[in-house]
Symmetry: C2
Amino acid sequence: MTTFSFKDVDDAYGRVKSLILKTPLVSNEEINKITKAKVFFKLENLQWTGSFKLRGASNKIGQLTKNEKKKGVVAYSSGNHAQAVAYASKLNNISSTIVMPKNAPSIKINNTKRYGSEVVLYDPASGVREDIANDIARTTKKTIIKPYDDLDIIAGQGTAGKEIAEELLDQNIRPDVYLCCCGGGGLIAGTSTYLKHKFPNIEIYSVEPEEFNDTQLSFRSNFITPIKKGAQSICDALLAPQPGDITFAINQQTLTDGLTVSDKEVKSTIVVLAENLKIITEPGGAVAASALLNKKLDVENKTIIVMISGGNIDGELFSSIAKEK
Amino acid sequence: MTTFSFKDVDDAYGRVKSLILKTPLVSNEEINKITKAKVFFKLENLQWTGSFKLRGASNKIGQLTKNEKKKGVVAYSSGNHAQAVAYASKLNNISSTIVMPKNAPSIKINNTKRYGSEVVLYDPASGVREDIANDIARTTKKTIIKPYDDLDIIAGQGTAGKEIAEELLDQNIRPDVYLCCCGGGGLIAGTSTYLKHKFPNIEIYSVEPEEFNDTQLSFRSNFITPIKKGAQSICDALLAPQPGDITFAINQQTLTDGLTVSDKEVKSTIVVLAENLKIITEPGGAVAASALLNKKLDVENKTIIVMISGGNIDGELFSSIAKEK
């Protein structure tokens, strides 16, 4: 059992508020018409570094001791946490090393380098990123900044939920449903804790790629269950093989159920969001919207919050998805 | 001399507030770094119907008499005003006829039809859209909803400026420069009036496509000056051949000067905005950002407001621009 609460998110917000963008929460009449619901999209793709990950990384890195900061940090990530750690490290004048899969999107690798990190590429078919990062940490005495299974990271990501709650309460709106993507589960753990506190009756659903439904499987079976080997998805940001110990303990308390979407559904959603919301989303950033648009649950006449978690997609992939339509 | 003032914008906001999206004003650390300035983007591409035009159309159409509403409306537009009039008419249960050039972007023609308007296509090489619309108005007794040279339209568009001003004042920020696209001049007339009232020292620049620099020419010569025949630009939303009488009278009072950008500069800006802000912009919607990114004026250490006016671009054009890069 964890003692994580909305207060941890409030505290984190005090620390990161000036270091992040308060991202917009927007509605779109066309989407409301299509879904027969009142939908609010939280645009974390507009967050600096292109995803919500900056919230957690800023909260964690800001709290390192002087000595830890001097030695630097190491992180492993498919790309969004990588960029966030790189950016936050630069801001803090900290050296950073990031372990990334060699097949990560070019935009993510290039930005991580551009923010000043040393990038160590590995082959995900043969290497284990945690092991590589642990080795680096051992030899360099750098601090590991975990991507999700860390209370400071979870509290940081939760600040997106605080912004959503405050904006809705300002407008006197009570949401019925919250849909959020789920990789390792940090974002949904932090945001769901906050939203559940402010709106106790809200239903919260994790959304995962079909073959990476570890949180759905784990939630339904009540214990941590990994996905099958050989699973594939275009959602490069959501390929965690199983939930984190800490994130799962939190999500078990806050979730209503887990939903999944196919790559095909994600692709068509990226196009719908571009055409109607005029935003660029990456595959992992569009899964929650995809669950909505592909009617994975009944939303008629309800007020729905949809997390758009990131927008770091290579131009070539975006164009090819737009063309497929 | 016109008596148009910020009060007209305040009044318009009371009428349209519940009918439009209060669009986000966002900053982006990467753009700030590139420009060495503090830049705020007003995302009217996220406005319902994909452009700011819904503000003016809602303000105008909402004020028609019962009899006028019964007879319906007619408008002429390259596409954004078309969609806005179509959408606002549908909301008011008014029949609408829109005269559009046959080479308008497909997304604009299709959306205008989808919102329920009767679309009349004409050949811009041989027909004059105002004449066609006037003929329709005469025979059907429908009211013409002008695209810009109308005080209610200008006041409606100005509400985007009111939102900008209020958000900046909330954060205690005083902008130094406002960059806004300019076709017929309605958006910049309305928003500049409001911003100049709240921030008397602000410098305001219209931004136009190189060959459609009628507002720049007119402002500098002090009388309405049309562009040369045969001018070309990919900025389909900004192809007005000369400023409106009313808009120019206002803009003469509020502008500091007029700037221009080339199609090539606009294309590279669309890519920069997609990669960094994660937004889709249409060519006309990106000209103000293009003036900023292509250093058309000195912005170092200044606080700059950039209007992103629309995002209605065909997927094919967007993809081809992304590829050209």
